[in-house]
Symmetry: C2
Subunit: 98 residues, 2 copies
């Protein structure tokens, strides 16, 4: 039947963030914001949720004198992403019972 989709990942913005972080190793807040087209507020909230779940880490650093928020994916996050993709395939491949 249909296995439930991880609700934390089944969100357009959070999924986009995870997608970026998988290829990017680490990414800065403004970069993610630009790549996803999200507002800063929304991104801030969604990063918090991903961090609370342990899917990413959010590191507060400085770049010269300015604050700089660095994000990167955790092993837990990577695993969750992979599982999400696996689960989703069942929704996308109709007829393929499994």
């Amino acid at each position: 039947m249909f296995k439930p989709l991880d609700p934390l990942l089944h969100s357009e913005l959070r999924l986009a963030v995870m997608s970026l972080l998988i290829s990017a190793e680490t990414a800065e807040f403004p970069y993610i914001k630009e790549q996803t087209g999200a507002t800063a507020g929304n991104l801030s909230v969604q990063l918090d949720k991903l961090a609370a779940a342990g899917y990413i880490t959010v590191e507060k650093t400085f770049k010269g004198k300015r604050p700089c928020t660095l994000c990167h994916i955790t092993p837990t996050g990577l695993k969750a992403f992979e599982e999400y993709v696996e689960t989703l395939r069942e929704y996308l491949k109709p007829g393929a019972s499994g």
Copy 2:
């Protein structure tokens, strides 16, 4: 970058319904309910939304004396589903720029 995902399809239940209808040609309300594990109320609401978008048609018939709600996918719905899958792939295949 990230193309927006059709919000109508980016819903666990509606996606499951569409997935079923693609393989099933037509399906009865109770069958969809059983296969998705949804409550009747939720299913009713989500079927309405899919129908309002023209993604499915909902036909009210009778099976003997009992009411019977038949659903089937429309060409519009099929196209939307395929586009959704295509768009989603960009989120799932990190690094593959396109």
